[in-house]
């Protein structure tokens, strides 16, 4: 079919939406409620175009037809588009300078592009509503909300948590949780994917930067920092470098400049997790179950399981996440080795994740006698700290992490991508179980961005069935499949080992990552993690010399009594 857009002819083989067709001739029609990874709903009216003979229509939900003539910027179009934005502004606080999203807000950008420099419509019914601060991870400011429903779609369709929805109607419309008891009292799993898709400052993480600065500036405190695998591939895009590029060395340098006393790496604890979880898995293999064993590093998934699948509690690994394992080791192993009173240690983690704030605050995370992790800041908060100080990140020299808990293998590096934990676990479980060297380290079948992936690995004649899911809707699909199979097959599980990551793409797509985490961007970041893995000499957790040392000098062996006390946890049943 032939379509004309702004006097350019375009040949198409299927009726795609006008929005996409326009992209092909080099026109990016402005949008607001549209998000490329979510189904379009056409609620905001910003992407209007004029179709000859049909008038003004929304480009995101109108498919092209043969002979269609489109004008994307006629006077009529601009009038409509401007009015849509002006009406939104008539019900908006417009406190951009102090807004979390200042400079990164879609609405602000639109108003700027459309040249809106006076407010034509008075605020008729604007009433300030209270900010929801009940969640340990994120805040909701209903005053900023433009009711585009991107967050609702994300929560419902991609995450299948359905914590939030649109309530009320007209001016009173808000996005909130059932019974209006606040996000913290809802099934919300704190994944923060709603933040990733929010075009304005209506949802944002609970800010912990101030606590971190206070600790850094307190001479009595010894501030230790860990950074998740995904951080190092998510900073480049914010500092004018190639998106997804690995900037590990610059990251360490920046942390030193900010004033942290010891710079370690969550990757160390990822290797430790593999030792513990791999051992737990092999024990189940020896004892014949219970299967499947499901990974436990993603705190959003843990709360999801506790809420929607509490009967699977015993299937989930008892291992704490790398963040928490790291925290427990810092206030014991590290403190002892360096003769520092653990009471003086403040343990900070930099995470791509908002649910990590919730995880760190879980009451049981203090087996060492101290909080495993004191403060969690997101990638975005870390970037804010760098910008606040004025560090020229792009031109920093590269340095290394400190040694005791800063050494890692390629297996740890890929934890940040969906499938990474599974691959890392397979590498170690295979070699520890068989005593042989793996012929090929890359488990391609569990890599990639398909929602659910599975494979069977031959471990010394034992076929080990594994599956990987990312995004909680995919996880739900997989778990339902397991449940159904078990019912039909006498409790037999179709899989031995399952990896679940809360966020699409894994941690690289976490809710604390820089704005603009489209699937494409998530993939770029993930690819970079596999490149890091490929370049490292040591690519199996059990070969990490720092890990060997921690077992020799402190923990004893994997799953030892001390390891259980410090590195393992338990789960609860949640009802809302």
């Amino acid at each position: 079919m032939k379509v004309t857009i702004d006097n350019q002819t375009l040949e198409l083989d299927k009726p795609i939406p006008i929005l996409e067709a326009a992209k092909k001739v080099g026109i990016k029609i402005p949008t607001l409620c549209y998000y490329e990874d979510l189904p379009p709903i056409g609620s905001c009216g910003v992407c209007v175009v004029e179709i000859e003979g049909l008038g003004v229509k929304r480009a995101c939900v109108t498919p092209v037809y043969d002979g269609m003539k489109i004008d994307t910027h006629s006077q009529e179009v601009i009038k409509h588009r401007k009015m849509a934005v002006e009406l939104l502004l008539s019900d908006h606080p417009i406190d951009c300078l102090t807004c979390e999203r200042s400079g990164r807000c879609d609405l602000q950008g639109l108003a700027d592009n459309l040249g809106i420099n006076d407010l034509r419509y008075p605020r008729l019914k604007y009433k300030e509503k209270p900010i929801d601060e009940t969640s340990p991870s994120l805040y909701r400011d209903p005053n900023k909300c433009i009711r585009c429903k991107r967050c609702v779609q994300m929560c419902d369709n991609i995450q299948s948590v359905e914590a939030i929805n649109v309530m009320g109607r007209g001016y009173e419309t808000t996005v909130t949780v059932a019974y209006d008891h606040g996000m913290g009292n809802s099934p919300c799993v704190n994944c923060g994917q709603c933040i990733s898709v929010c075009p304005v400052g209506a949802i944002y993480e609970k800010r912990d930067i101030d606590h971190v600065w206070e600790a850094i500036n307190n001479p009595d405190k010894f501030v230790v920092v860990q950074e998740a695998p995904a951080i190092r591939v998510s900073l480049a895009e914010e500092f004018g470098l190639v998106p997804g590029d690995d900037v590990t060395g610059k990251m360490y340098t920046a942390l030193r400049m900010l004033g942290f006393d010891a710079i370690f790496d969550t990757n160390f604890a990822a290797d430790l997790t593999i030792m513990e979880e791999g051992t737990e898995f092999l024990k189940r293999v020896k004892e014949g179950g219970p299967f499947p064993l499901i990974t436990s590093c993603s705190p959003g998934w843990i709360k999801f399981m506790e809420t929607f699948y509490p009967d699977m509690k015993n299937n989930v690994s008892s291992c704490k996440s790398p963040q928490q394992m790291f925290g427990a080791m810092v206030k014991t192993f590290f403190a002892r080795k360096n003769n520092i009173d653990p009471r003086r240690i403040i343990s900070v983690s930099i995470m791509p994740c908002t649910a990590k704030k919730f995880e760190a605050a879980r009451p049981e995370m203090d087996a060492s006698g101290y909080r495993d992790v004191d403060y969690v800041i997101t990638t975005r908060e870390f970037i804010r700290m760098i910008n606040e100080v004025g560090i020229d990140f792009a031109n920093l020299a590269e340095t290394s992490a400190d040694t005791l808990m800063g050494t890692y293998t390629g297996a740890a590096a890929i934890f940040g991508a969906t499938g990474g934990v599974m691959e890392a676990a397979l590498r170690t479980a295979y070699e520890v179980h068989t005593g042989k060297t793996l012929p090929k380290l890359d488990f391609e079948e569990v890599r990639g961005m398909d929602g659910v992936r599975e494979t069977t690995v031959d471990v010394n004649g034992l076929p080990v069935h594994v599956a990987v899911a990312h995004g909680l809707e995919n996880a739900r699909t997989l778990l339902e499949k397991v449940k159904e199979y078990k019912e039909k097959n006498d409790g037999q599980s179709p899989y031995h080992f399952i990896e679940v990551m809360t966020c699409p793409g894994g941690c690289v797509g976490g809710g604390g990552q820089p704005y603009g985490s489209t699937m494409k961007r998530r993939e770029e970041r993930a690819r970079s993690l596999y490149t890091i893995d490929g370049k490292l000499k040591l690519r199996k957790s059990h070969e990490n010399p720092a890990i060997k040392k921690s077992y020799e000098e402190f923990l004893g062996e994997p799953n030892s009594k001390l390891a259980h006390k410090l590195l393992h946890t338990h789960y609860v049943r949640r009802k809302y």
Partner: protein, 159 residues
């Protein structure tokens, strides 16, 4: 708790509105309690947030307890033009409550709603199932006075 009502309906989402009505009509305080939302969502396999969303969309449903008599004043354009604001103000004053509130004795709730479908007699209001048109502040006072003669306390009433 609501099993008796639920079992009358097939567990399909298109029965949601009917079930909600029945739960509300059976509550002495004319609202849908949290437990009701929980049970309906379980029964229909919907999330509580979705059910809550539906309830809050329609002005006839309420998630908070209401009085024995629900006064619903129409504020759609025809009624608005014919003076519904003065009717709302009058009601507010004589009942001592604002829009969306219930009197302390649990007798009256005041609500502002969309079109009641009787634009010919605007401005109009309903008290429970009874309709009143061509309202003036004075007429409103007389109507409320009549309802006030009901001395049976709100809490004892159950339909």
């Amino acid at each position: 708790m609501y099993e008796r009502i639920l079992r009358k309906y097939e567990p399909t989402a298109d029965n949601l509105l009917f079930i909600l009505h029945e739960i509300q009509d059976n509550e002495p305080k004319q609202y849908i309690p949290e437990q009701g939302i929980r049970e309906v969502s379980d029964y229909l396999d919907l999330s509580p947030s979705q059910v809550y969303s539906v309830i809050t969309f329609y002005s006839l449903y309420s998630v908070s307890p209401r009085g024995k008599y629900i006064v619903r004043v129409c504020d759609s354009p025809p009624c608005h033009l014919m003076g519904s604001v003065s009717i709302i103000d009058e009601l507010s004053e004589i009942l001592g409550i604002k829009e969306g509130e219930t009197t302390e004795n649990g007798m009256f709730s005041l609500e502002v709603v969309s079109c009641l479908g009787v634009c010919g007699v605007a401005p109009a209001m309903m008290i429970n199932k009874e309709l009143f048109g061509n309202l003036t502040p004075e007429k409103v006072r007389n109507i409320i006075d009549k309802y006030r003669q009901d001395k049976q306390p709100a809490s004892q009433v159950a339909e």
